[in-house]
Symmetry: D3
Subunit: 290 residues, 6 copies
């Protein structure tokens, strides 16, 4: 990483993810954090997500028995925290887009840690510019298809609506969404974008080889395993559901990913952060495997 790259976009005074390096030279994946939660309407705190994930990562093994892959065999960089303004989301989304472009320009696959879900549209825009046939796979409790929310177009409740401005509807898969308005569910059902959990793997298999962006809103998991998120929704998924997905995805052309909506202050036990860090390990190994 040239010194100018680092200093202009990212702050590097925080901790790094277990096994990573600051310097992107020779790396295949570039991790970065976006500590933003300015539009969060219910319980804030996702700004602390990236730091919490890094902090607990040292408690994990580098080896994943399920994928039989080891982080020790992967060179990847932790680029630090994107330098962002507080307040309105528009400049944040723009900064995310520019940062993602810079990561791609370095030849790295981007892995972004939120922060709230509104940041994803910036990264998706940058990746879709490089991969016009990009398939966006969304793990989420909520449809995030509102046109605006509490007066804001870039609210985290509108995250997928914003992505649909750069991707056609059929390139978005929304996995086992369980909360939304009547209008959002009408659209989900009408468009065929809603994928039931039982059909997840068989829906993905035909897409092998296609560029995939996986956006993981951690509230897709059940609050039992991930209580530390702003809008927990009962009736979610356990680790094993994710394990099945990632086993499939590790055979895919995963080109980018993000993990958002961890609010570590809401879970004093810290297990939410540990689960998020294990999701990140899975994604690093999958991004590096193709």
């Amino acid at each position: 990483m040239s010194a100018s790259f680092s200093h202009e976009l990212f702050e590097t005074d925080g901790a790094i993810y277990m096994g990573s390096q600051r310097d992107p030279a020779g790396c295949r994946v570039g991790l970065f954090g976006v500590p933003y939660d300015g539009t969060t309407s219910f319980r804030p705190g996702t700004r602390f997500g990236p730091a919490a994930i890094r902090e607990v990562s040292s408690g994990l093994e580098s080896y994943c028995p399920q994928l039989d892959l080891d982080l020790e065999d992967l060179a990847f960089a932790d680029l630090g925290a994107l330098d962002i303004p507080f307040g309105a989301p528009e400049p944040v989304v723009m900064a995310v887009q520019r940062a993602t472009e810079a990561v791609l320009a370095l030849g790295l696959k981007p892995l972004m840690l939120g922060g709230e879900h509104s940041i994803s549209s910036g990264a998706v825009a940058a990746v879709a510019a490089q991969h016009p046939d990009l398939v966006l796979v969304q793990l989420d409790a909520h449809a995030d298809l509102r046109h605006e929310w509490l007066g804001a177009k870039h609210s985290h409740a509108c995250a997928m609506r914003r992505c649909l401005e750069v991707l056609p509807s059929q390139q978005l898969l929304q996995i086992a969404i369980r909360s939304g308005t009547r209008e959002e569910f009408s659209e989900l059902r009408a468009t065929g974008r809603l994928v039931a959990i039982e059909q997840l793997v068989q829906t993905l298999q035909p897409l092998r080889g296609k560029p995939i962006y996986l956006t993981v809103d951690l509230d897709w998991f059940d609050p039992a395993v991930l209580p530390g998120t702003g809008t927990p929704e009962p009736g979610g998924f356990m680790w094993n559901h994710f394990a099945e997905l990632i086993t499939e995805l590790s055979q895919h052309n995963l080109v980018a990913a993000d993990v958002v909506e961890l609010a570590p202050m809401l879970d004093p036990s810290g297990v939410s952060s540990v689960l998020a860090a294990k999701v990140v390990r899975s994604l690093l190994l999958s991004l590096g495997n193709y």
Copy 2:
């Protein structure tokens, strides 16, 4: 609601449940709280349950994709908190009975938020007086069949024993109870009142049309999804078990319900309160659907 009704029985200085109104005029369901935990023997705090449910309810959508029903289509009242004395349970149970009678007199289906389980017998008595063929369905980790507990007849450990004083044994269904004394389990098995989780729906289906009172002791759920309760019991149930039940019950003549034993202070993550609020949303929609 006439002003005198409100001021005599309920305190109205607290928050209201998302989408409700104070005035019962034109409503089908009447929600009220009973912040009582005077006989709790282990860990107190259920007195804060009703306020916590209301507080987090604004984080939920009004639409339920599973039932395909929306709270926006239902007129319901949040009548406030029953004004109760602290200390012995007898006057509290009497106050609950009178309040439930008042709610019924207004033409509303009662939905009571506890508070500890000992309050249910007051509400059941009032509803059973109107519906002699009432079927009481109990979700609970504990049998609650003690004759007395620590010297008190109206302890929460005796909740169902007290209900059996106004209802015959065969009008009580105890769903998947997993904790109790040897004597309680002998009675559960001998009477046939114990319904295994696998038989839940098939047991209920023949009762369509009959008046049903559902009492939800939240410790029926597994502590994984609801840690915020006074006597958590490992080995309980997940949201999907409740979802299956409520899908069935939304086709029934549900005439009243209560949701008890949420102790929000015990769960700093707040997900217990969110689950309880979603249970309440399900019950409101089911009560309003028949």
Copy 3:
């Protein structure tokens, strides 16, 4: 309060402060909350401040032995929560200004509960328009004199800078500020606006009769007595320091006040909220006493 007033500006589905009424008719003071923390740079959560203050207020007595005044002798309204957008602060500050004007138009003295400190400039602007000789007294750990912060002019780190756009420098008193940049302290010392704690009462006494706006950033208190705030600063003040101030202020023409920066989630013991609720009781009694 006319129904239209309430419904246009305030949400009234939350709890009310102990002893208050919703209807402003006949009242002398109008309390309202502004649950905004969009520019908070360190630890968020002041959006929950107003609700927490109301919730714990019922644990206080209505009588204050120090002032020998009782809330039972004061008619005051709790108007609810200002309806605000999330994200950028400018529209929030504008909404605060309009709400304060509306409260003043009803003949009420405004008492605003934050939320973060950036909201104060809106209320100060409205009150200063009515009282051009207004003296603004600031209790705060921080100078809040930055011209902008992390790219935002209306950050809570700029709260007093924004107030100085509607008030001349000599009408601002900054009480025992203990944190700031070198530049801020240069200005504090050069302008004579910095009042040492020992000179507080003697500085105020000559101002009796003048219209006073008191803005209480709760981080003025020592973190020992108020840990629940976003940017705690060791070396602050105890309750008795505030008691001395309020005894003096109860003899003044206090025309408006605000209490900001309570972040209740950061203090699981709840004593921060109790202290804030007692500050509010003191302010209500003082506002009503002149």
Copy 4:
């Protein structure tokens, strides 16, 4: 202690206070817990106070440098937890009175750990029967002089009113009370029972030799040093104020004492329990010193 004594009144399956013994034979002081909080109107949990005090006591030294006394030189018994019913307070207060009589009959000075303040009247009644000239010294934030509260005569808000039924008014000293109704403060001032903190030692000195019962409602301390109590009241006292008192009291004929209203769940840092345990150490040394 005869085995029958122990088994009839006390449960002995809990921990013991650092340095104590179960067997009262040869002891001068008898410690016991009363885990009751049935009338607590605001935030419950004082039932866990005695266990918390014992648990953290092992973190203290046995030596007190201020009194220059060491628990190692004192034989004292920890008799366990009084076996009490939950619910109404009357039978609890009666059980406390009988237990205190039993402790006195063993030749021990009683030191009772609450639980809520309503239990004190039972112990005071037993001690006053033995010492008709008993002086009751109350450390408390609240006057506790209500005639009844929320319908209960034995509420903790009525603790001193109940003691005044067995002691004449001039035998009660209420130390630096800072919260109450207007009526309570009228009585406090009219009777001369309210002792300012500055007059504490000079008020006590003439009483040397007289039998004294010290009741310590821990909310007398400032919430800064003791956040773990149900009704925290800002403006209280620091450890050094108590140290001054106990230095004086160690020269007095202290015949009994209690320490009440610790609610350890409300203070996750545990420092409230540590302070309470240090208060207990001071009282043990003072009770043993005369």
Copy 5:
């Protein structure tokens, strides 16, 4: 229990498990705690495990409906806390071995509560000396097969490696391990010691009659049901998995057991301790049943 036995090895100033007695005379099982966490590399606090298990045990029923057994029918002793030095693990493991030998010499089946997993090798050594054909069954998230960790041979990351020094490889069954290094998993697979969860019961059934030591590292459970442990690992097991195991084991010659790695401070809800206490109840009943 002879007084000398108790005083030399165990501290008896703590609470006891529900339904136990201090005196081992006439008992079949001997419970004791080892509050040691000196080698814990990530998040400490298992030293508080034994006390937490005892504290919450009183909230459980003595009857287990699944096994149809009642603790009231079993005489068992709670011998207290092993007196151990802090710092290096070697003397702790030696003390555990001597204590286990003493318990066995009293004719009791040992049930040890940790503390961290490194203590198990001491107890296993003592039991294996008496039962050379002992089968060690390990429930654990982690393989614990490191040869050393952070410079320590007796780290909790090496617990099973140390046990393999006294037991041959084929006498160890490692149940559904889900975390480890690549080397550990190679060994697990090569030796056939790794038992999949689906094969658990059928693997155990042929061993009926053989002496079994069950070591329960509580992090085997999913963090959803047991967040209170130092190195939580997503993807674990629910209560029902354990229930199936214990139903089988209650028909076996279970000669000893331990329950380790509960860190109660990490779970403010307390449900981790409740689950651990229920595991202990199951083990007590199974140990007593053969």
Copy 6:
């Protein structure tokens, strides 16, 4: 810093203190953390102290109005976390000594963040070797003069006893110690090493020019302002007491310092970490000022 220096002794994957740099070139002060709590007898967790101090440091201003000094004018390095084994303290103390020697060899004044107090003797030994006339000033609640504790010579209860093996008694000043055994207090009083808080500044003033090592055991502060420590002791000191000390010390030849015994997990409000970070800022400015 040469790469070999960094990689051999310190881990650099964590965050850095606000305003510091990794590279020691050109710096005057070298900060490093020692995350060790292996001998902690009561409540562990000081291993997380260094990370917590760094994490919250970004919430502080770089300017100190009291000293009128700004961190922006000081070049200082944050060298990372000393790589240490878990378990016994002896190798840890040796590693601390070697690391301190390495920091001194780079021409930096060492500022060590604990971890528990037992580490100080290693750093004191290294500094005293360079400054034989070193004066060690101890802020602490506890005397730390035990010869051994729970079988360990290098326990944190023996920290000063170990320092007295490299420094003569008259070169140690123990400031306002308030807890210890009778023997420790006899020694404190007999040697004249105990300095009352009122005599602190006048005791230090004659030492201007002499090399001083300040060891700050944070439990010297009152638990009100610093609840997050393992053995909190009521009756301690407020920030202003420390401010007076540091104003004096900033005129002294402060050659090294440490800040130990922060246990951030024990204080969910985080204010303990903020106070510790402000202590560190004061020490950095004082170390750099001479």
